[in-house]
Amino acid sequence: MERAALPRRLNWQLGDVVGLVSESGQARTITLRVPGWRRHLAGQHVDVRLTAEDGYQAQRSYSIASAPEDSAVELTVERLPDGEVSPYLVDELREGDQLELRGPVGGYFVWTESLGGPLLLIAGGSGIVPFRSILQHHRLTRSSAPVRLLYSVRTPEDLLYSKELMRFATSDDVDVNLTYTRAAPAGWHGYARRIDGEMLAEVAWSPSDRPLIYICGPTAFVETAADLLVAAGHDTARIRTERFGGTG
């Protein structure tokens, strides 16, 4: 278990938007320069606060997509239907704008090189975001911990970081597995269904390998994956979960 963070005040900070990359029709990555940024751990998140002209404010939490070693802070935000903050971040925010944030927040759903492996990462939809930080951290620290990623998306259009994931997959230490739950690309021979026990048995390490497991995604996805892994004999104390509330 990670050493607990020392008490400290987390102040609101202003970051400069220096880059915006569309990841899919619904998501984009925001690159921020944040003067005085306190280095985060892979897997942590930040609070973002928007302020209207009349002083009205709205706050939400977003996972950090970049590695601790990166000098910039990157957030990948998915536009949620009926959202208040996410449509602004995906559609309205421009380079040169400033964005108010505070963090990093959360100390449990994190992976550091010292925690070792083997590592099993299971993502549903935008639940891949903190794993991009973890995978980059894994590469930048030249960690020898073997990693297996299982990433479930609805359609090829929903796949975030596709080129980067393919590059990770060329590493001997990282095994990338995708499953498409609604529509697979033409000629796809991989998984094309929701995660189930058989898929996890094929992708996951054996419980006797004692993998450190991280699961991130919508609540129902996380519940299903965690229940299946516990039923298969994995140690509940080595399963860490992050459930996206689906509001925002």
Binding site: A4, L10, T51, Q57, Y88, L99, A226, T241, G245, T247
Partner: protein, 201 residues
């Protein structure tokens, strides 16, 4: 002074009483689930709730004994540190006052412990005087596992991580021992009306 976010209009919630929504929160109709690990499943015939401490004999209730205690129906608002609030949630639970009635202790703090290893700390004064319950019902039905069933601590005047899911007991003492999230940078007390989300807030 926070500068305005260019082009942000916001979507003010006009159908809720702003006096019921703490700063930085928004009201949701859903009931999001947040937990650090898998949802534990403990068989009810092996379930107990225990109150223990250094200066009294521990007291335990089985599941059936807990259900046999007089329960209250209450409707209250809840506030999660991840920004959502949910108004008018309806619970069934046994008041902590009832469970503490036979215990004579000088303790001033409680550490709730749970299946799955989760803990959270609350001053004992925040659990007494009709402010906290062991809730075993939600919305007129039994409490679903993903929301902390079979029973969770319910302390609605604090951020909802203090309302520990899958609660199995309280450790009472004279020392304030930080719980799970409190050791990961979250506020030790967690008053939503003072926006005490993180250490130093």
């Amino acid at each position: 002074m926070t500068p305005a976010s260019r082009g942000f209009l916001g979507r003010r919630q006009t159908d809720v009483d702003p006096a019921r929504v703490p700063a930085g929160q928004y009201v949701t109709a859903g009931f999001p689930v947040l937990s650090a690990g898998p949802t534990p499943r403990t068989a009810l015939d092996r379930w107990t709730f225990t109150i223990r401490g250094a200066d009294f004999e521990p007291v335990s209730w089985t599941w059936h004994e807990l259900l046999a205690l007089p329960a209250e129906e209450l409707t209250t608002d809840i506030h999660c540190v991840t920004k959502w609030s949910k108004l008018d949630t309806a619970w069934t639970g046994v008041p902590i006052d009832t469970l503490l009635a036979g215990i004579d202790t000088a303790a001033t703090y409680a550490l709730a412990f749970c299946d799955g290893g989760y803990t959270t700390n609350v001053p004992l004064a925040d659990l007494t005087g009709g402010k906290a319950w062991i809730a075993h019902g939600y919305g007129g039905a039994s409490l679903p596992p993903e929301h902390g069933g079979p029973a969770r601590l319910l302390v609605p005047h604090l951020y909802f991580w203090k309302s520990a899911k899958w609660v199995r007991g309280l450790e009472l003492g004279s020392e304030d021992v930080p719980g799970f999230w409190e050791r990961y940078g979250y506020h030790n007390y967690g008053d939503p009306w003072k926006e005490q989300r993180y250490h130093g807030d």
